[in-house]
Symmetry: C2
Subunit: 235 residues, 2 copies
């Protein structure tokens, strides 16, 4: 039917620069990495794009296209070598090197983040915990003790810290953010429910717990057909 006839565009070939990985693809690479690790743990040595796609929860065509941005790591007729691909993705993301992370704001959330094992297992090393509350400074959390925010500059410089995590209240977030940037941190993960402005060269990502719940609530409301107020169910 719609067989590609003789319409061969004589356009100049677009170079597949390794630089231009789509943002949507970048966001999925860690998911693939996790899926590959799971397969490897089960002693699976080779996996097809379909296997991987199922394991990662995506479409197999999408997965193949994503991987094609990184290079040609599969073997036609066979699939992907799990450990090899896993290493390639890890290298692409930058997980073959360690990253130093500072966490600012050691309240409940900062506490949890400091103890989160998922960071350390992936090459992220929490090198310092900072808080502006002097009463908290000196406290121990896991292996670390809480430092004063005033030590930020030295900690960042001496520890080659490039990633900062903000877990402060919203009111303090922008100030902390500015100080992180001034100290030389160029990637920030923000858990505070606030809009932060940063210079162009700084990357910032936001995780907002209450927004996620609100999105769920929206759909939940639709499902229950609750147009007005609370309806008292049966009983």
């Amino acid at each position: 039917m719609t067989n590609a006839g003789g319409r061969k565009g004589g356009r100049a070939r677009v170079e597949r620069a390794e630089r231009g990985i789509p943002e949507a693809t970048v966001a999925r690479l860690p998911v693939y990495l996790r899926a590959l690790t799971a397969l490897s743990d089960r002693d699976v040595t080779t996996a097809s794009s379909e296997d991987l796609a199922v394991s990662a929860g995506v479409n197999s065509a999408k997965l193949r296209k994503d991987l094609s941005y990184l290079g040609t790591y599969g073997t036609r007729g066979v699939g992907y070598d799990v450990d090899y691909l896993r290493y390639q993705i890890a290298r692409e993301i930058g997980l073959t090197q360690d990253w130093s992370v500072v966490i600012v704001g050691i309240g409940n959330l900062g506490h949890a983040l400091a103890n989160y094992s998922g960071f350390a297992s992936r090459g992220f090393r929490v090198t310092a915990l900072l808080d502006s509350d002097e009463a908290r400074v000196g406290e121990s959390v896991g292996d670390l003790h809480i430092s004063s925010l005033d030590d930020l500059d030295e900690i960042v410089r001496s520890g080659s810290v490039s990633i900062g995590v903000i877990a402060t209240p919203a009111a303090a977030a922008q100030i902390v953010c500015d100080r992180l940037v001034a100290a030389g941190v160029s990637s920030i993960l923000n858990f505070a429910p606030a809009l932060l402005s940063v210079p162009d060269h700084v990357d910032i990502r936001k995780v907002d717990l209450s927004i996620e719940l609100q999105i769920l609530a929206f759909h939940e409301q639709r499902k229950t057909g609750a147009l007005t107020g609370i309806k008292a169910g049966t009983g």
Copy 2:
């Protein structure tokens, strides 16, 4: 139910628009809500789409289009009444009613979530904390005490719980998820680094802390020009 003061003679609501709100728009409504609250706190009574857009960190055209899906709440030549719009968005999301939430897995993260004030302030009430570790059952966290996972069914039914938060290790996530679904929970927020499968009628959202860091690391690596990627092995 107290109305937020009928303003300008109540017009008929545009109900056809309520059907198909794009997902991308839904995800921004909480952001607008927060921006409106911030303006309201500063005693701003009226705001143009441009004002709001700046406050929310988006493009003003996008904001206007988003709001247009909800109805016609602005006044041409004037802007939006801050409190009125805030109420409308809150109603649309479903925040004019309270939502009962259970948190499963009271480790570091679950602990932090249980104490997170951002939930309560937006109509989300944490009604129960559950853990499968019997040694933890009975412990107090804030106002609540930790219940056994076996009590899930009764808690969900008696408390009209529709939202569940999973903060367990990855290995336990699917089991906990299945039990939540079986108990009648139809919206799930998953913090465990695992892919969960749920029936169609259940909504699920995922928050993955380490993925966010990995995305930052990817861009950070590009910025520092570490093209070679391979440096001294970590041994």
